[in-house]
Symmetry: C2
Amino acid sequence: MKICRVNMANLSVSTEDVPEEWKYLGGRALTSAIVAKEVDPTCHPLGKRNKLVFAPGLLSGTTAPNSGRMSVGAKSPLTGGIKESNSGGTAAQKLARLGIKAIIIEGMPEGGKYYNLHVDKNGIKVQEEKELLGKGNYEVIDVLSKKYGEKIGVITIGQAGEYRMSAANISVKDPHGNIRSAGRGGLGAVMASKGIKYITVDDTDAPGVPIVNLEKFREAARTFAAALREHPITGEGLPKYGTNVLINILNEAGGLPTKNFRMGRFAGANKISGETMYDIIVDRKGKPTHNCHAGCVISCSQVYNDKEGNYVTAGFEYETIWGFGAVCYVNDLDIIAQADRICDDIGIDTIETAVAIAVAMEGGVLPFGDGPGMLDLLREIEKGSPLGRIIGNGAAVTGQVYGVTRVPVVKRQAIPAYDPRAVKGIGVTYATTPMGADHTAGYSVAANILKVGGEVSPLAKEGNVELSRNLQIATAAIDSAGLCLFVAFTLLDNPDAFQAMIDLINAQYGLNMTANDINDLGKSVLVTELEFNKAAGFTRQDDRLPEFFEEEIPPHNAVWDFTGEELDEVFEEIEKEEKVLVPV
Amino acid sequence: MKICRVNMANLSVSTEDVPEEWKYLGGRALTSAIVAKEVDPTCHPLGKRNKLVFAPGLLSGTTAPNSGRMSVGAKSPLTGGIKESNSGGTAAQKLARLGIKAIIIEGMPEGGKYYNLHVDKNGIKVQEEKELLGKGNYEVIDVLSKKYGEKIGVITIGQAGEYRMSAANISVKDPHGNIRSAGRGGLGAVMASKGIKYITVDDTDAPGVPIVNLEKFREAARTFAAALREHPITGEGLPKYGTNVLINILNEAGGLPTKNFRMGRFAGANKISGETMYDIIVDRKGKPTHNCHAGCVISCSQVYNDKEGNYVTAGFEYETIWGFGAVCYVNDLDIIAQADRICDDIGIDTIETAVAIAVAMEGGVLPFGDGPGMLDLLREIEKGSPLGRIIGNGAAVTGQVYGVTRVPVVKRQAIPAYDPRAVKGIGVTYATTPMGADHTAGYSVAANILKVGGEVSPLAKEGNVELSRNLQIATAAIDSAGLCLFVAFTLLDNPDAFQAMIDLINAQYGLNMTANDINDLGKSVLVTELEFNKAAGFTRQDDRLPEFFEEEIPPHNAVWDFTGEELDEVFEEIEKEEKVLVPV
């Protein structure tokens, strides 16, 4: 395995051996370690001192189930802090099979030129790009698939990235030619600032990933896969309804943020729910069950067609449907699907964009519930008009520009699809994760609402600090393994599955890690990220929710009632501990 | 003297005795003390927890020369920190003569209604306002002068404030019906958030300001006035050419930031200089010398007419002319005057707006040097169009929205008209003042360039930390006295004038303050402000200049070379000292 470094200032490529300290890191652990070591925390996120790091997970490229996630890391132009965002698609597995532990992109090209990178068994080639500038992700993938063949891996940015919008994401081609995204934190703008429109990855004749103990690895993979198939969420709920199974569940729980976080229930929930969507998909001959990377045994994705049966979008997630639905007060699933399609194409985070539109609605730019107006706004983003640039820079900018005080962000990143007052565990995660408001950083919804990994009341404070802390630690480890976060549902309920995950890593690398070591890995990732943010100027005051969450949210009339001291307990102990770098 | 409190949530007005601790505070010392005591540093600046405080200076309302400044304080929507911005005009003197030490405006009205406040000898009346909503400051002042008579004092916001723009200022009517502004930090947006369009101040039959030792006061006033008239800057340069005398001086020094801070000299400097402007004003029968408040013996203001001899603008300052001139690469003084006129009318800070436009030029919105395009952009602000809202929210927002890395701000406030690389003392002030980049917070230009108050090289680091520290302390005291900052030129060079200033305060209040006490007053103001900012989440990382100042600036090829540690020395000692609250 090696680390590839691309210097965009002089267009040079070099290859390095993996330093000992990074040898057993992957995914988020590796991107965060590299960013923390090599990036000045005070630098401009779109300047020459920032670096963009791609890293497949520890298990990526193997036959381990659901191990195809790729982490992308940098200093975020949205939050100003460290960022890791990960994605499905085929790139992680291809990079791993090519023996690439990480690609570090640094420097900036002169004169605003754009380039593409082509990665194959011979290394990385940097070529000037003109043809696909200004094009959307669907066209980029289409053109490159014709040029290099259907199997080519593609990592790309759309127009939002080229405009250097703080909500721009990085998109990754999936096995079906559809779009998966490293969505949050504006990493697409960082890729644009490096002058890179896309990266193609060809793993033809790649050496593949060495496995130290193949027998043990296969056995653990079988155990892991079986456990995923047996669990009611990863084996039934997600495969059938996708993540959108959550609309009805959160609506029932009173935690579905509606009309810019005014209410916890949405009258139109039934029209946009996973169950309704399933019927529509089946009726229109779409695919209710679909995977985002090879080796996924959950297949929570789907293909959503329009009334004429034509493809509209894939990977149509709960958070997207909530965003363009409940929070904007829109109850038309076809409009929401179009919104998702446009966002995928222009390469922009659906959560940030939807919340920015809700804030624009709050500011009087368009009325709540105006679905066609919402689509028009997305087209403004594509055009790069002033209004589009406002929205495309996220909820915090939109709020400031329109003088709105009801702006649901933490660390300038939009709060996603679970109200922190009615699902308090996730509120603790929003407040404290170094990523800015991010449900995937410690998905307390599991124990608060889904009764997975124990039960912690969503409406009381008790237990939620501990819950969020433990999940943030576990998540940091899972993100480092390259595993899809959804395996956590099974891991939390099934100790054998958890052991199988550890066995997979041990078998691949010839290690003897224990559950404690995995825990230490998660902690070390968090400490690395927290230290970066501190050096960037973050304080405990950034670990707070906006003022307006003191308002009661119906139906439970819950309020956000954690004190600063209580929130500070999340990481107080971890930060004091001796830093554990690599579990070997 | 009393403190008046207006609660906009229930439209109630109350009057309080001045607490002992605030008795000998005025102006900035008082607004900062009140904001620090009563405003939650983490609150939303446009929310119900922020407060807007107006306070005349310690000497305001008396015959002390140049003592008519009014401080306005709040948590700033631009910087997120504490803010004091002060203005000339007639309001400070009228409020002081009415016995009002401060007006504290708190809470927010329901339903987005607007009100006006009328202040007279009977107290404060709150009345709903409809007629003047959406109107510019010139029309507001015109209508109110007709309604209440020419002598009425007016404090008002224009359209920029109503749009809650982060660069919106608060304007104050001057003795001639022209516009003076508490320009920086977006306090106009805070006034709008309180639902107040304007405040009228009628001091008919006001009791006036009591003077404990009238004889001593008069003598000190005479000494002070004579000293101001004798000093070459306050007695000659400023009266004749206004502040715009600085264009040629800074251009000569290579410290006139040009084309978004690319160069230190502007080829068009001669066309926009104070000397050129003087000739134009005289030629067009304007007024080269004009005062902004009664009792001013400097009269640095002027009335600038167009080619037909019609009034365009007054108080046409160096920083404004630099902003719409050199930094935007525009060399047409008539266009710059129109820009100033529009900004005064819509109520927006000229420095923040000009730098935001330069950043927009950097981002490709319009070409550098496009004067007519610049005026069009200002009209977009007036309209509240998306583009206008971007610019009206300042340089930091404009930079983010257009993905620009060359954004000259500190604490999100635009850097004004002196390049920090070629005038290093002012750079130290920009970096460290709790106000965000602000030349008036510690005008090191005096010793760096004008050779007033000693000589410190503008191009070397030596002595500049100490210079900035001392000037920041002295300025905090001057801002508290209600004195125009320009008296500092005389104070720094003339110990008798400095003593006269102390004598004025002592005579008025029956105190025995020494120079040390004045120093302690200044320190205590700074410590109060620094503590607020710290509690709001500011760290030493916020006391830094943007990355791009490492680039050499011609003609001296100077770079910004202060380390973080060196900058931290500015306040290190002061913060450690025992807090001295009130010198009595």
